[in-house]
């Protein structure tokens, strides 16, 4: 039995259902809207597990599901050494979002990461503490800043409403996922001109240990190369 983990609600769930439907596999929620049980039509020995998108990486690594749909950002942030346990099978063409660094729009002197580095140094000297970057993507952001040799900053945890932290003076900059940039603009933030820290999209992943004829059959039905 192949257990397929899919986000349990919202647009991400609908688009995932559409993606599978385009490939001849009909996924649906059984029963009422509130019930997290699912049905699979058009494929043998596949069961649907509806999960919060944020839990899918963990469930995949633990082997409680063989296949899962989630964002590349979540896998890379939550699973250190993820490639050792998980295979990235196919980008699904939706759920696009970039992990970016943004600073206050009013900072006329800040367009690049070099600017932010220099501002962070001044800020630390002036305020006696390191410039704060609010994010929930601690590992990705820290690794990226380390690879660019940025110093004089600190990360502060923000699990939601990250764009508001600058106006609330709990952070000077933010690192967050954005698709259109609208929320950033509404909060008077601008994106640094660097390439994003990560370009993420909804992606079909498999647990490495689950590979075998059964999984191959399902994947070839979907037209996905393992």
């Amino acid at each position: 039995m192949i257990r397929l983990g899919v986000p349990s609600k919202g647009r991400l769930m609908e688009q995932t259902f559409d993606w599978f439907a385009d490939r001849g596999v009909r996924l649906s929620r059984s029963g009422s809207d509130r019930e997290y049980a699912g049905r699979v039509e058009g494929a043998e020995d596949v069961s649907l597990v509806l999960l919060s998108a944020g839990e899918i990486p963990r469930e995949l690594r633990a082997g409680r599901i063989e296949l899962g749909v989630t964002g590349t950002d979540l896998v890379r942030e939550k699973l250190a050494g993820w490639r050792s346990d998980i295979i990235e099978l196919a980008g699904m063409g939706f759920g696009h979002a970039d992990l970016i660094l943004a600073v206050p729009e009013c900072w006329r002197d800040c367009d690049t990461l070099d600017d932010l580095t220099s501002i962070a140094r001044d800020f630390r000297a002036t305020h006696g503490f390191r410039l704060r970057i609010a994010t929930k993507y601690h590992r990705l952001v820290r690794a990226w800043l380390a690879s660019h040799e940025v110093a004089d900053y600190q990360l502060v945890d923000s699990q939601g409403a990250t764009e508001g932290t600058v106006a609330n003076q709990t952070a000077e900059a933010i690192a967050d996922i954005t698709s259109s940039g609208e929320t950033l603009r509404a909060n008077n933030l601008k994106i640094l001109s660097e390439e994003p820290i990560l370009r993420s999209q909804a992606t079909l992943f498999a647990n490495r240990a689950a590979t075998g004829p059964e999984l191959d059959r399902f994947l070839s039905l979907l037209g996905v190369n393992a």
């Binding site: 890379r76 250190a80 050494g81 993820w82 490639r83 050792s84 346990d85 206050p104 729009e105 009013c106 900072w107 006329r108 002197d109 070099d114 580095t117 220099s118 501002i119 140094r121 001044d122 800020f123 002036t126 305020h127 503490f129 390191r130 410039l131 601690h138 590992r139 820290r142 690794a143 800043l145 380390a146 660019h148 040799e149 940025v150 110093a151 004089d152 900053y153 600190q154 990360l155 600058v166 106006a167 003076q169 000077e172 008077n188």
Partner: protein, 352 residues
Amino acid sequence: MTSKRDKQVLGQKLLAAFRDAGAVEIAPDILLPAESLLDLYGEDIRARAYVTADPIRGEMMLRPDFTVPVVQAHMENGAEPARYCYLGEVFRKQDMGDTRPENPRDNEYLQAGFELFSREAGADAEIFALFHRLLASYGARSETGDMGLLRDAVRGLPLPDPRRDALLHHIWRPLRFQRLLARFSTPAMARDFPEPRANWSGLRSESEMVTRIARLRADAATAPLPAIWSERLERLFAVRGPAPEALAALRELASDWSGIAPAVERIETRFAAIANAGIDPAQVVFDASHGRTTMEYYDGFTFSFLAGHPDWPPLATGGRYDALTAVLGKGRAIPAVGGIIRPGLLAELEAT
């Protein structure tokens, strides 16, 4: 696999040797307040150290190294000169990238250390000779460097203060240093600072920005640094070899670059003292870039002892960290040099 007990025994032997060398043993806490470590090392330490929470004391860190607690203890109640030694576990996590390493590094291991707080000349050679004596029978190779040499080289560049300070600040970050140097070596580009569409927000004040913009405008009028200087720096960073050869190369560089002459003299004096201690300088590597990427708080002499195994961490590392004592000393400062040996690695060597 060498047992923890064997490693302990070896650590105790090192500790006894440190005591014989005049050190007083101290035993810093294992759980340290995270704040001063985070302020000192920044986010990098968060990726490497275990952080835990205490309901009353706040964020605590499992001891990632001894230097900070030893310096703090000395600055609070130590008399000078002082020699300290210690033995205990440090804890380091390894945040692997995309792939899990096949042989993860130990996340807890022993360090036996010796720290010397002293204004006496010859402290560098004393500690190097002590470590050399303890490690000679393990066939360890030694490599040394001197961050003071690099700092003097940068200080002596014909640059306005803001440019010089920026280079000095990033001397431990080679990529960023190189980017700045390249920028300072080409004509500056005038830059626009368009009026913002948004109101001011955040803790950084408008006057901080105005100050920086004024600095950037002044900088745009600065003539580029003549190419000879980045060439000299490049030659200096590349100096590496057995100490006598490296010193000859440094002397040659210093002959038409007076800014580094005093530092070169200091290094010569140090190697003379090392030779006096019975160590052949030809067996010691001097690498001008030693310690540039891994040892941020060292600002003078640096050293490491390496085993024959290329994938092993050094058996021992150390160096001078005068500036750190000033940062932690709340206004007081004292020259300090120290180092650690990893008894666990020595025990592995003995077992094979």
